[in-house]
């Protein structure tokens, strides 16, 4: 069964450094998302992406965050200058198409900012 893959599984970085989290969505999916889950808290929506542009973003997704689909397979989340509070699990998700098609999540990247 096709799946969403994320790399790395764990990323440790120092405060103020830039990180790029990588995702390969399911190949025939058109809609892409990033969610995050701070330890012990809810899974929260960050951003949705379709047709090479952001379609919606949450309050969390400020100017320090950006997303890109650099080629036909990868989808990345960049955090320009990490803060301690950015420490969380970051999940990539993708969806096939319009209407009622469910999100499929990757296993996440655990980001630890020290």
């Amino acid at each position: 069964e096709p799946e969403v893959t994320q790399t790395p599984s764990h990323q440790v970085t120092q405060m103020g450094q830039e990180v790029i989290l990588r995702c390969v969505p399911i190949s025939n999916h058109l809609y892409f998302y990033w969610y995050r889950q701070i330890l012990g808290q809810k899974v929260e929506f960050l951003v949705s992406f379709y047709n090479n542009e952001i379609s919606e973003k949450s309050e969390i997704f400020d100017d320090q965050f950006s997303v890109e689909r650099p080629d036909g397979s990868n989808f990345t989340l960049k955090i320009r200058s990490t803060k301690l509070e950015d420490s969380a699990m970051y999940f990539c998700a993708s969806r096939r198409g319009r209407g009622i098609s469910p999100l499929h999540f990757g296993n996440g990247t655990r980001l630890t900012v020290t």
């Binding site: 899974v43 929506f45 379609s55 209407g99 009622i100 999100l103 499929h104 999540f105 990757g106 296993n107």
Partner: protein, 115 residues
């Protein structure tokens, strides 16, 4: 009032028991309802989704939606130790032509099935 409320548990039941997991919500615009299962240090895995009131069954799992009460449930029959995980309800208020829907998650209920 939180948009989506879910009892975090933990909930422990003996193997073979019927498990009932629930969420309530306040926003009547939610029209698309999902249940995800999340094992430790893994991503949410979709179990079931529905967009209408009533019951939907898939094997040992039944999802129930009552839009008038703003209440959704997941029932697990003949529970197995492998069902031990955190169960997340997720709701969406938009099913748009552009697929911009975002999911609003509950906190998750940690379930343990005791052999």
């Amino acid at each position: 009032q939180k948009e989506v409320e879910q009892d975090p548990g933990p909930l422990s039941v003996p193997e073979g028991a019927i498990v009932s997991l629930n969420c309530t919500y306040s926003n009547s615009a939610f029209q698309y309802f999902m249940w995800y299962r999340q094992y430790s240090r893994k991503g949410p895995e979709l179990l079931m989704y529905t967009y209408s009131s009533g019951n939907k069954e898939d094997g040992r799992f039944t999802a129930q939606v009552d839009k008038s009460s703003k209440y959704i449930s997941l029932f697990i029959r003949d529970s197995q130790p492998s069902d031990s995980a955190t169960y997340l309800c997720a709701l969406s208020d938009v099913v748009s032509n552009f697929g911009n829907e975002k999911l609003t998650f509950g906190t998750g209920t940690r379930l343990t099935i005791i052999p």
